[in-house]
């Protein structure tokens, strides 16, 4: 698969909302299976259970039941951060309290786990972002060691890069990570309010973003992902939005949330007279908006899934872009112009 030379960005409309409170509770990440089951990784610091993986059907928003639970036993999670599907269809979850990576089936059966707390090669101190490369090696963001490690799928050390700081190739409590189809790696450098791009071996390529809330600026970026066009999506958690950058790192647009009621949310409301009236009395504009999104994912169909952390749901958008060849669009000019024909 090769990247298009350029894109006609026709639009990126809101598609639908999945889940509701008591089902998708404080989702921090999301994974969607080929049979369109939506898995939401949920985490909150409660007194009782504080983490789980919720399962919701894409078509009718049906609650398919939780898997995993809070704890430190096999298949359990305490402070889960990110979740992936591997090629075998199993879920891979990072846990920054237990300093380990856990593998479970989509039915919740324990498959395996690895990870030891520390700062040596292959050891982890609060692992957060995880991403596979084409060979199913796992890049792990090793947050409190301020580095990225590349490990085999069974946890053997391959390479690492990064030290604490704000220079190129340095990190301050990094969070998210993504690998594109060319093997390049993107890391959201949380406390430096930027995303850095590296080669597969950790050589710095470029960075995007700066501190702030303006277009293209970031306030504590969490998850990051890349699609087949090379577009870079950043969960700009502190600004309650997701930003889209093109493959060169140029800011394209932002998503602030456009939620409508999910099917389950709609059914709940129609069965409860009091909340119906209270909602009717309220200014509902804020309910559309994202609240502190901590991840963003895209699938092969151009769908963007945003776990809407503060609002107990996943907001989904649909990319609509036409790939362009070199013959269809002029080369990038050196400067902007006012002449359009």
């Amino acid at each position: 698969m090769t990247r298009p030379y350029a894109l006609l960005r026709a639009g990126f409309p809101y598609l639908k909302t999945v889940g509701m409170r008591r089902v998708v509770d404080f989702p921090v990440d999301v994974a969607v299976t080929r049979d369109m089951r939506v898995f939401a990784l949920c985490r909150f610091e409660g007194l009782a259970g504080s983490a789980k993986i919720a399962r919701v059907a894409w078509e009718d928003d049906a609650n398919l039941g939780d898997i995993s639970s809070t704890g430190s036993g096999e298949g359990q999670v305490t402070w889960p951060v990110q979740m992936l599907l591997d090629r075998g269809g199993n879920l891979v979850v990072s846990d920054e309290a237990l300093h380990r990576i856990t593998f479970i089936t989509t039915e919740g059966e324990f498959v395996g786990m690895w990870g030891a707390h520390g700062s040596g090669d292959g050891e982890l101190d609060r692992p957060s972002g995880i991403a596979f490369d084409a060979d199913e090696n796992l890049y792990v963001v090793d947050t409190m060691n301020h580095r990225v490690q590349k490990l085999t799928k069974d946890g053997r050390f391959i390479l690492k890069w990064g030290t604490f700081g704000d220079g190129p190739g340095q990190f301050d409590m990094p969070w998210g990570i993504a690998v594109d189809e060319l093997g390049d790696v993107y890391v959201s450098d949380w406390r430096n309010d930027r995303v850095q791009k590296f080669t597969a071996e950790g050589e710095f390529i470029f960075e995007l973003g700066s501190s702030g809330s303006g277009d293209g600026q970031l306030d504590r970026p969490a998850g990051v992902t890349v699609d087949g066009d090379g577009d870079i999506y950043v969960a700009d958690s502190g600004n309650d939005r997701v930003l889209l950058f093109n493959a060169d790192g140029r800011y394209v647009e932002k998503f602030i949330g456009d939620a409508t009621l999910s099917i389950s949310g709609r059914a709940y409301m129609l069965a409860n007279a009091k909340p119906l009236r209270l909602r009717d009395m309220a200014d509902i504009e804020p309910q559309k908006r994202l609240r502190s999104p901590r991840s963003v994912r895209v699938d092969g169909e151009g769908r963007m899934f945003i776990p809407d952390y503060g609002s107990f749901r996943v907001q989904v958008y649909q990319k609509d872009a036409v790939p362009l060849s070199e013959e269809e669009i002029i080369a990038m000019p050196r400067s902007p112009t006012l002449q359009v024909t």
Binding site: R21, A97, R291, G310
Partner: protein
């Protein structure tokens, strides 16, 4: 720096904060006392708690999140008096979760206390009267022209400013009418997508704009005018002074007894009232007068620690949770088990304090909590105590062993009975030795045990 300086610094930090580690106390005790108080009164000189870090690791939560995060703030703030004043106002303006179950507005109220809690009485009461959690708690959302609801007007006078006996029923009615139309916009309901904040809304069409006579003054008063009159009253100065004395200095009788029982230290109240009236109710001025007074300095261990003070004091002793770690909810649960569920006080009167914190169940919760926390020798604060004890000599007599531990845990002054019990333990295995590795291991275990005995003493229950 002498032991008295250290004891005074520890006293100040227990009262104006939530305790401090030994290292922090030594730094503070080396400075002029007035400078330390000056820093406490100017929280803006110090950075805020790193909220981005708290958000990242503790995240949001339904109910238990805000009080658990508050405990984390109490332990980690570099602005301890700002946080302690938030707890003070939470005691005075007690607003509970159980009525509204609306986390967002309770959280907003707490943030309001953090923001304006050290400003002046007028600002504080005005913010309180515009606070959605308070408006709902005392039904001011149902207080409309022609059908006044007197709940807020009454408690504003009785529990929040002047105290019973200093106003008439007519004053209550007039205050209530003045606050008609002070309500909040309907927030989006909890289901299906979580809490949304409520915000103050003034509805002129629901406000009673008629002429009112309140505390002898007449005019077309609204809520702001009522507050202006209230904050000028000597009764308000005396009521707030007594609250401050009870919270920061020494235990007073419970609030309902105040109209009939005189203050424990009338001269102290007079000093605080003077500071209030001279400064138009400026809290920093009143707090400065209190913390620099002799009556404050002499009041060591004359208050029973509230559960929040006990738990945060122990956490500062063991020096854990200095960054977000899993399990902060355990401490929220511990405070609750001891009788102080933060953000959920039992009534608008707040918690009964002093000896009423202690009953059989609460005492065992308090002692067990402290003993368990300090019993883990791997905790940084306990390791520091072991290290400091070992640095005070290669062999310590039982008397020295006990004394140095009492100093490091407090410094704590204990009575004869406790001293005898601690000495009995200290003597049971002879001198404390650090000659060999085996000595060090055995002595470390004995030090941990001694610290456990100290925190289970009656004296440790006092701030």
């Amino acid at each position: 720096m002498g032991d008295r300086d250290l004891a005074l610094a520890a006293h100040l930090m227990r009262r104006a904060g939530f305790g401090a580690s030994r290292g922090e106390l030594e730094t503070l005790a080396a400075r002029p006392y007035e400078d330390v108080v000056g820093d406490l009164l100017r929280p803006e000189r110090f950075p805020e708690v790193e909220e981005d870090l708290v958000d990242r690791y503790y995240g949001w939560d339904s109910f238990h999140g805000p009080p658990a995060r508050w405990i984390y703030r109490m332990v980690n703030t570099r602005r301890p008096l700002q946080e302690k004043m938030s707890l003070f106002w939470h005691h005075v303006f007690a607003t509970a979760f159980f009525k509204s179950e609306h986390v967002a507005s309770l959280n907003r109220q707490l943030q309001m206390f953090q923001r304006v809690g050290m400003s002046d009485m007028r600002t504080i009461l005005l913010e309180l009267s515009r606070d959605p959690a308070m408006i709902y708690w005392l039904d001011n959302n149902e207080n409309v022209s022609g059908e006044p609801n007197e709940n807020y007007g009454r408690e504003l006078l009785e529990l929040f400013s002047m105290g019973a006996g200093n106003y008439t029923e007519d004053d209550v009615k007039m205050a209530a009418r003045a606050f008609t139309g002070w309500t909040f916009a309907q927030p989006i309901p909890l289901y299906p997508h979580g809490h949304y904040d409520a915000r103050f809304e003034y509805r002129p069409e629901e406000h009673d704009d008629s002429v009112k006579t309140f505390l002898g003054e007449t005019g077309r008063f609204d809520g702001g005018d009522i507050i202006d009159i209230i904050v000028r009253q000597p009764a308000t100065a005396a009521f707030i002074a007594r609250h401050l004395y009870n919270f920061f200095v020494a235990d007073e009788p419970q609030v309902p007894a105040w109209p009939i029982e005189p203050p424990r230290d009338p001269e102290a109240i007079r000093i605080l009232v003077g500071a209030y009236l001279d400064s138009d109710g400026d809290m920093r001025t009143v707090l400065n007068a209190m913390f620099t007074s002799d009556f404050f300095k002499e009041a060591q261990f004359r208050r029973v620690k509230s559960p929040a003070e006990l738990v945060t004091g122990v956490l500062n002793l063991v020096e854990t949770h200095r960054t977000p770690e899993p399990g902060i909810g355990v401490y929220q649960a511990a405070v609750t088990a001891m009788g102080q569920e933060l953000l959920n006080p039992p009534t608008v009167e707040g918690w009964h304090t002093g000896k009423e914190w202690i009953d059989g169940g609460a005492l065992s919760e308090r002692v067990n909590f402290a003993v368990n926390e300090v019993g883990d020798g791997s905790k940084p604060g306990i390791q520091a105590i072991v290290r400091r004890v070992s640095e005070s000599g290669s062999e310590l007599s039982p008397e020295e062993f006990m004394s140095v531990c009492l100093s490091l845990v407090g410094p704590l002054t204990v009575g004869d009975e406790t001293r005898a019990a601690l000495m009995a333990y200290a003597e049971s295995q002879g001198p404390l030795r650090f000659h060999t590795e085996a000595d060090e291991e055995a002595s470390a275990r004995r030090i941990v045990r001694m610290v456990q005995l100290i925190v289970s003493s009656m004296e440790y229950q006092f701030a």
